[in-house]
């Protein structure tokens, strides 16, 4: 993909020469790209091509075989603004929201308890929580135990956190799984709003992002390169 060339957009995240090997298979090699404020980036590729691996490397949960991920650090003690995420883990994670395959919702807790824990855990403000529940259409379910919800409601409970998040970098792995049409278009609108106020989104999905297609949607395609030797 080509990096955005708009002069005022600031660089948020930068991947340098990422190489990933899983089970002796090379998933991607020397992958570099920059992510600017306002970008929405879709990571594409067939199953097993390393989409989730790439996202997890970007969050810092996994380490790449080679290469590193840099982010825009605001800490005044650094002259260089771009810093490795592994070096300033806590600062990076203040700026990061990751939504994975597993929703992290506890069946033993109510919808409201789950949401307020998730928001507070990431240091965001719990004040607008009721509004967030309305946004994901779960108003009226707030006192239900999460174990009694449907799969879609389960996902919505987890997604409600997006509405409260102040983190500029969103990394979302299949956010639309089990979400209905209306929900998908609501989320797309939310993504646009997030990008417009200076955030960035890196996501994987098998949906066509119809609402986003004519905006600044960018794509990273991971090829299926099987068992290739390299040095």
């Amino acid at each position: 993909m080509t990096p955005s060339t708009t002069p005022k957009a600031s660089l948020l995240l930068s991947a340098k020469n990422l190489t990933c090997i899983r089970q002796d298979r090379l998933l991607f090699d020397a992958l570099s790209f920059d992510v600017f404020a306002g970008d929405i980036i879709q990571v594409e590729g067939p199953n097993g091509s390393g989409k989730t691996s790439l996202l997890r490397i970007l969050t810092g949960l996994s380490q790449p075989y080679e290469g590193q991920v840099l982010f825009q650090s605001t800490a005044t003690h650094n002259k260089e603004n771009l810093q490795a995420i592994t070096r300033y883990r806590e600062e990076y994670q203040q700026n990061l929201l990751y939504f994975g395959h597993l929703s992290g919702i506890k069946g033993e807790m109510t919808v409201e308890e789950n949401l307020s824990f998730n928001i507070a855990l990431h240091g965001d403000n719990t004040d607008g929580q009721a509004q967030a529940l309305t946004n994901v259409n779960l108003m009226g379910f707030e006192d239900n135990l999460a174990s009694n919800l449907s799969a879609g409601q389960h996902r919505r409970t987890a997604l409600a956190r997006l509405y409260q998040s102040n983190a500029p970098i969103w990394i979302l792995d299949e956010p639309f799984t089990a979400i209905d049409k209306q929900g998908v278009s609501d989320l797309e609108a939310l993504f646009l709003a997030h990008a417009q106020r200076g955030g960035c989104i890196i996501l994987t999905t098998h949906q066509d992002l119809s609402a986003l297609a004519n905006t600044q949607l960018k794509k990273i395609t991971l090829d299926y390169s099987n068992d290739i030797a390299f040095d």
Partner: protein, 247 residues
């Protein structure tokens, strides 16, 4: 990190280094062990109290101290892997663990075989034997954890953390077991005091000790080489190597 160590973080360089070291280790180990063992078992004088059963000492003591030494080296390797991200350190720790476990087992078996004529029983809860047994458990834990992970890289990291936790605990365990031992059976057992060795016993012992250490070096080199190859199987230099061998 130290500049001179850096080239050895490259797998290919260390592979060739082990190749160069291996014959030296092997020949020296063979020489030292054959001299040491023949001297110790045939020519060294028998102990005036314990008779010939004392000769097991020439195997038991090197095995016991090497079992400790290997664990400490594993911990150093684990530390450099976790702190300085030296990737090969993982491989060397993985190469060492089974060797250490084997030497611990040898120390235990020879210890209890020595105990039979001394104490009239195969096993006694002697402080040193007990700590050696616990050390064996620690080794087996590291090996089991290492083999439980499918990803070699993660296996190395997890086993490294466990090794470091273990190395902090070993002195505590050793101290507490010794303390427990004096508390419970201090007077009933005549412990094996350190025999004041005469020179004609000391020299064969030194030869045996060096010989066994070199043997450990040989086995670890062999295993380390295998670990490097297994971890780098997709690298071109490994493939070339395989092609050369098969032709």
């Amino acid at each position: 990190m130290w500049k001179w160590l850096h080239p050895y973080a490259n797998p290919e360089v260390s592979y060739h280094l082990t190749n160069k070291l291996l014959p030296w280790f092997s020949y020296l180990a063979a020489i030292f062990l054959s001299i040491g063992l023949v001297w110790a078992l045939l020519f060294a004088p028998a102990d005036y109290q314990q008779g010939d059963s004392f000769r097991i000492f020439y195997v038991h003591v090197p095995a016991a101290s090497l079992s400790m030494g290997i664990y400490v080296s594993m911990a150093i390797a684990a530390f450099s892997s976790l702190v300085w991200q030296v990737r090969l350190a993982d491989a060397s720790a993985a190469a060492m663990a089974p060797v250490g476990a084997a030497f611990t087992a040898i120390a235990l078996i020879t210890g209890s075989a020595w105990g039979k004529p001394m104490w009239g029983t195969w096993w006694i809860w002697d402080a040193r034997l007990t700590s050696e047994l616990i050390l064996l458990f620690l080794y087996l834990g590291v090996i089991a954890l290492h083999s439980a992970f499918e990803d070699k890289n993660l296996a190395g990291k997890a086993a490294g953390i466990l090794t470091l936790v273990g190395v902090i605990n070993i002195p505590i365990i050793k101290y507490s077991v010794e303390w427990w031992n004096t508390l419970h059976q201090g007077s009933t057992v005549s412990k094996l005091g350190k025999p004041s060795m005469s020179l004609d016993m000391l020299w064969p012992f030194i030869f045996c000790f060096i010989g066994f250490s070199l043997l450990v070096g040989v086995i670890i080199c062999l295993r380390f080489r295998n670990e490097i190859l297994a971890r780098n199987s997709i690298r071109p230099w490994v493939r070339e190597l395989v092609e050369q061998k098969t032709q």
